[in-house]
Amino acid sequence: MARMKFLCDDERCIECNACITACKNENEVPWGVNRRRVVTINDGQPGETSISVACMHCSDAPCAQVCPVDCFYTTPDGVVLHDKDLCIGCGYCFYACPFGAPQFPQDGAFGNRGKMDKCTYCAGGPEEDHSEAEFEKYGRNRLAEGKLPLCAEMCSTKALIAGDGDVISRLFSQRVVQRQLHESENGEPTKQANLWGWKTAYKD
């Protein structure tokens, strides 16, 4: 069985924000909720680095461990999903998540946040596949159609890649080898390769 992961290649991400637009449009995410975001470190300085980040679908996901109503589950593909019918909007998942993935439609007083919303890896939710209820609550279920998340599919530089962890890490290591060959031929110092966020997210 595949173990689905996200990988963002910081050498390729150009901060075009197309992944965010793709996600918002495909899943018809409500206003104020962003399942994915691009963060630029050292913006405008030498060494500027951009990363596209959403729910990383962690192993032993911290959100699932802290949830008071146990509304999270991991699919056989390793995708972390949650049941909005059970969610009480306590916000604990947001406080536990390393990546700031959980989002809430309301930020009102007295803890009224509404139901949590986050990246589903375009895999819908506990409702019946492709049902209206599933789309309404969780967005498109592309995985059930045999398609990968649209953010990665739309990425113009293929910085953001999605798929089975073994496959995408092999792809990434080929890139790294190519880059190092290229850089050493040109006499430039080789750069370190980064499987960004993987140490935090994955144990397998």
Partner: protein, 322 residues
């Protein structure tokens, strides 16, 4: 996968790792400030630029999240459960050993007012909210490990939704009660020299002595100040938790949650003792808080200095009226 399995993933060796890690970060962070390695900065929670608005969207990785998770699921849940269980056990054992503290002398039939109507209303207003807050708070912390298997996920979720709302709205009302209590009983609860003797004799809980006390005995004063101090902590942190729209950042919320839980456990343990002494522990104490009146022999046994004061005031006023 059961909760136990998930919690086992965060066993003792993780605690050691975490403490080690916190030490390492603390020691080397000045060095890393000049470190150009972007990924180390990211793991430390450095904030970048993002076009997406919202709380802390510029942070790629927040390091405190999993620490907070560990503190909540392991340390707080564990310590709290033991604290409450041991308190109940200790009170049960004490009751078996001591039984109810009876009145030493027969009732005189003469009563005096101990708690005014307003005071009793304030007491039961705050007490009711305290019990609601305790049950709802404990349900959110322990419900998943205890209630879900009885109620099922859906019923428990509805229950949790309800208690969450109760908790978040009755919290501010509880603070009003605390403030009014502080103003009403502050003067009576200032410690004086009699309190040392009272503590030395364990307030007459052990043995048959009846140490002197004014309107409040030293035990009541200790509970009052615990309620005020832990109450202040639970109130301030509770307000921070109740208003996520202030967008104070996750570290503030995580810290508030830990302090809130600690203060709440202190109050729950204190309240268990307070309820024990005020009900089955002491003959005649509960009637005082319900009717507002206590028998003079009860007052003489438990609050002799207060009774003397009242009697001399009465004499004085009758003297003046003559």
């Amino acid at each position: 996968m059961g909760l136990e399995n998930r919690l086992q993933g965060l066993a003792m060796k993780n605690l050691v790792n975490r403490i080690g890690w916190i030490l390492v970060v603390g020691l080397v962070s000045p060095v890393l400030a000049s470190e150009r390695d972007v990924w180390r900065q990211v793991r430390q929670g450095v904030e970048g630029y993002t076009a997406v608005s919202g709380p802390e969207t510029g942070v790629l990785i927040q390091a405190s999240g999993t620490d907070w998770l560990f503190i909540r699921n392991e340390l707080l849940a564990g310590t709290g459960a033991w604290a409450i269980a041991l308190t109940v056990l200790a009170l049960g054992c004490f009751y078996l050993y001591r039984g109810q503290v009876k009145l030493a002398e027969p009732l005189t039939g003469e009563t005096i007012e101990r708690w005014s109507g307003k005071e009793r209303l304030l007491h039961f207003y705050t007490a009711t909210l305290f019990i609601l807050l305790s049950i709802s708070g404990l349900s959110l912390l322990y419900g998943r490990a205890t209630l879900i298997q009885w109620l099922g996920h859906e019923t428990f979720s509805s229950y949790a939704q309800t208690v969450k709302i109760i908790h978040n709205y009755s919290g501010p009302l509880f603070i009003v009660g605390l403030v009014l209590m502080g103003m009403a009983w502050f003067r009576d609860n200032l410690f004086n020299k009699h309190d040392i003797e009272w503590f030395k004799q364990f307030g007459g809980m052990v043995g048959d002595s009846h140490p002197s006390a004014g309107r409040m005995n030293a035990g009541e004063k200790a509970w009052f100040w615990l309620l005020m101090l832990a109450g202040l902590m639970v109130s301030v942190t509770g307000l921070l938790l109740d208003f996520p729209n202030l967008e104070l950042g996750r570290l503030v919320i995580q810290t508030s949650h830990v302090l809130h839980s600690l203060a709440a456990f202190l109050l729950i343990v204190g309240a268990l003792g307070h309820i024990y002494i005020g009900t089955i522990g002491t003959e005649g104490a509960l009637q005082g808080m319900i009717n507002g009146k206590v028998d003079k022999s009860w007052a003489r046994q438990h609050h002799d200095l207060w009774l003397k004061e009242i009697e001399s005031n009465e004499k004085e006023s009758t003297h003046h009226s003559k």
